[in-house]
Amino acid sequence: MRRRGLNARLIAGAAVLLLLIAGAFTLTVTGIDRLHGANRELQRSLQRISAADDFERLAIDLETGMRGYLITRDPRFLQPYDAAVLRLPAAGRALLGSIPLAATTRRQLAQDVIADIDAYVRGYVASQIALTRRDPAAARQAAAVGEGKRQVDHIRADFTRLDGIERANAARIRRDSDDASSRALLFALLGLAICPLLVLLFAGYLSRLVVLPIRRVAAAAIRVASGDLGGRVPESGRGEAVALARSFNTMSETLQQSRDELESQNAELEAQQGELERALDALADEKQRNERYHEVVAHISSEAAVEPLAELLLRDLGEILEADAGTLYVLDVSDFAAPHVLAAVSGFERDRVPQRLAANAGLAGRALAERRIVQASHEGTELRISAFGADVPVQHELHVPFFNSTGEHAAGIASFVRSADRPFTPSQLELLAGLSESVAIGLSRSLTFEYAQHHARVNQAVIETAQDAYIGVDEDATIVAWTPQAQTLFGYGEEEAIGRSIPELLVPERHRAEYVASHRRLVSEAHQAASVTHRFELYAQHKDHHEFLIELSVAPVRVAGRWRLNGFVRDITGRVDRDRERDARAAVSRILAERKGVQELIDPVLQALGEALHWQLVVFWTPADDGRLHCRGIWHDPRVAQSQKLEELTQASGLERGEGQPGWAWSAESPRWSLVRAEEGPRSRAAAAAGLRASASVPIGAGRQLLGVLEFFRWEARAPDEELLETLAAISDLVVEVTERRRAEQEAERLKNEFFALVSHELRTPLTSIVGYLELVLEREAGDVTEQQERFLGIVERNARRLQRLVGDLLFVAQVEAGTLNLERRRAQLETIVRDAVAAALPRAEQLQVTVLADAEPVPEIEGDPDRLGQLVDNLISNALKFTPAGGSVTVALHRSGGMLELSVTDTGIGIPAAEQARLFDRFFRASTAVEREIPGIGLGLSICRAIADGHGGRIEVESTVGAGTTFRVTLPLDARVVPRQPHLPSGAREA
């Protein structure tokens, strides 16, 4: 609940006072007004009385006039009558108007009177007058009746009554008026007396409520202002006064507290001031250290060379540390075992300090290893150093490694000693620690700088002495450096080359776009990634316009924000030409080996020569019966676009001896090389139009053996290369030689085949007789044969049969060699073949006391030659028997393994040395184990086996251990197709 404020109280008081004064005033005014009203009423009442009197007078006048006339008949009496009649209505209206409408009784009375008078005038008086005029007698008689008198009396009585009422009314009004005036006077007097009293009362109230509290507060405020903060005011009174007092009290209390606090703070401040002064002193020290720091840093940046910088640093740091002596070693990676070398000495004798600091040695080594400052004190020890020309004891030593934040090795390490027993202070160490990275950076920079200078000198020396020409090029391929070697190579002097663009000056026009693209790519790659050396081979153009092949090694180097390309150039024409010539020889040899017919050699050889030797167009001319050279073959590089014209001209007509370059080479029987000159003829013009700029012609063979002339064209305007011509001549010789040899070989082949035919016939015929007649004798056709004769003849027969087999084998091998082995294509059941072969071998095995086992599972048929497959199995089994000593065994196995048939013949024989196994299937090869034991054979059986296995798309392999046995394993594909052999010999040569 809020207490009502002073404001409300004052307003309420003032309002009550005003109401009282206004009430008294209103009462007075009302009394006066009522007095006025009574007066006006009285006036009107008197008027009405007068109006009634006036009207009564008129009525009397009327009566009197009429009576006088009646009696006298004198018309004078009619004058008042007439005047009364005339005034009567107005007088009536005046009377009626003076009576208030509310006074109904009186109005009724007045109206009755007026109506009676009117009726009297009009009805009686007027008729009496008129009667008088006409008959005065009758009139007097009539008047005698008294009628008029009675009417007048009646009116008079009414009048009297009206008058009476009116007079009573007037009296009452007068009384009221008197009362009112008395009351008004009373109220006025009362108001006059009460109002000042009320005003005084209100003023008193106001003073108690407002002025008094303010005064008290003001007094207290004066006390507070004078410093007496204990002053308080009573919190009595009402509204804002109380609030004021309370606020004041709160304020003075707060002030008192604040003053207490301030006093305690003051004490603290005084205490802090002391500390501040000390801190300022420390700051001054710090500033001095900073200055020292910046001084050292400034020294670091001022000196670039390592040695002076080291001296400077050692001096500065020594001063900071107040050291008596010190050393500074800097990084020198030439010796990783001791990567720091002495750079500066102070206080020590230089030659008594180690020149290199061994890694991990002593306290310095520890500082390096742990990457931190290491210090040590040696109070009371015998440690002494040689300094100042004498040995002095070392009391304190300090080792500071200087590490870059990134470096693996310290850029340097400084060591300081003090001979006095005065330890290094923390502040000195702190400054040193703060400086160590700057020192490291400074040292690294100087070391790098020196290293770079050294390398620059080395590089310069290398460039000046190198065999390669050096060309420096900027980002847009402008030459900025040019060595004498470059001048030798390209013909341009330094002043001609510098500032020129490489492609314009040195690159043949047709390669310029390519070169510019490579250069741009190189620059952009250098921008993107680390620089890498690139190597190019390209044609360059000499000042005299001849072209030659160079190898260009380019290494981009960043110089002052731009890439500079360092190019090393070497003339590799010779090297490349030799490589190409070797390639050409190889390619031609390969073609000669692969192609048998002379005609089918031409195109591949032309292409091989063109591609390998980088000639873009090659023509082969041969002399014909008409005594002219004619084109027999032509090849052009697919990149040569417009060579049709030249090719047409070449093929259209022949060349006479001495006509054109090929004709000249033909007649002179020597090679010729020249630049293409368009004016020399239509072919030269066409060649030039195709962009071909040099040509060479080389005769192949000589004299009657001249096979033809090779004509070459190339893009490059290369100077004649004798070596290349020689190579071409050599290749030509090779072609001639191979062609000759090919002819000889064909002849030899024919002779060989004839020989085999002879052998097969001429050996078999006598064999036929030998075997035939032996059989006859053994069959007793020629009579009895003794037992001994029969045994001997059996030996003869066995050897004849062997001879017969041998002849068969030789013939078979010959067929394989000649590629004329023809295998039949039939269904071959290998299981049956194996069983038959085993069965056939059994008698011999029994003889040799060797067990033969067959392990053949049923397998699908394959397509092949059953006779040859039988021969294969027979050979393997008879081989196994031959090499297996008595008591051993031979196992023949046949299995299916996936899509293959696997046939193996395993023996427990003497075995084949591993080194010989690879050659085992070669014709006429015999294993050493067989030769040693003098086991007969000529080494054809296994080569025949291999030929048969190959012919069926299969394979034969051997596994063997000397002394343990051998396994031959033949794998044949189930879907084997007899591999048809294309005979290489011309059909005529096969006749046997």
Binding site: A757, S760, H761, R764, T765, P766, L767, T768, S769, I770, V771, G772, Y773, E775, L776, E781, Q804, G808, L811, Q815, T820, N822, E824, A992
Partner: protein, 133 residues
């Protein structure tokens, strides 16, 4: 086999082989005519009209294959059975022989049994298929 022994013409330029073959065939009960080269063989065959010919392939003058060709082109000897006897074993030779009209092939050195079997087979075929005689 009929009571009249069949007559067989044998031609070979090698006397020994000729004698051997002749001996074997006579032993088997045949009458044997001999020729020492191709021309003689052709003349004999035309003149004698043997029941069967055994011809060596490699002979001076006409070869066995050529003799066979000629026999086949002659009406009288068109169906005369011919066995070629040869040391040559290459397929091409076989093909050439059969193409010329030979009925069988026997390789040198020959197996007496094989030769006899071939002869008997061909004669039996001729007796069965050909006109009676």
């Amino acid at each position: 086999m009929s009571d009249v022994p069949a007559r067989i013409l044998v031609a070979d330029n090698d006397e020994d082989v000729l004698a051997l073959v002749a001996f074997r065939l006579r032993r088997a009960g045949y009458e044997v005519l001999l020729a020492r080269d191709g021309d003689e063989a052709l003349a004999q065959a035309r003149a004698e009209l043997p029941d069967l010919c055994v011809l060596d392939v490699m002979m001076p003058g006409l070869t066995g294959v050529e003799v066979t060709q000629r026999l086949r082109s002659d009406e009288s000897t068109r169906t005369l059975p011919v066995i070629l006897l040869t040391a040559r074993v290459q397929e091409a030779d076989l093909v050439r022989g059969y193409a010329a009209g030979a009925n069988a092939y026997v390789r040198k050195p020959f197996d007496a049994k094989a030769l006899r079997t071939q002869v008997e087979t061909l004669l039996a075929e001729r007796d069965g298929d050909g006109p009676a005689g």
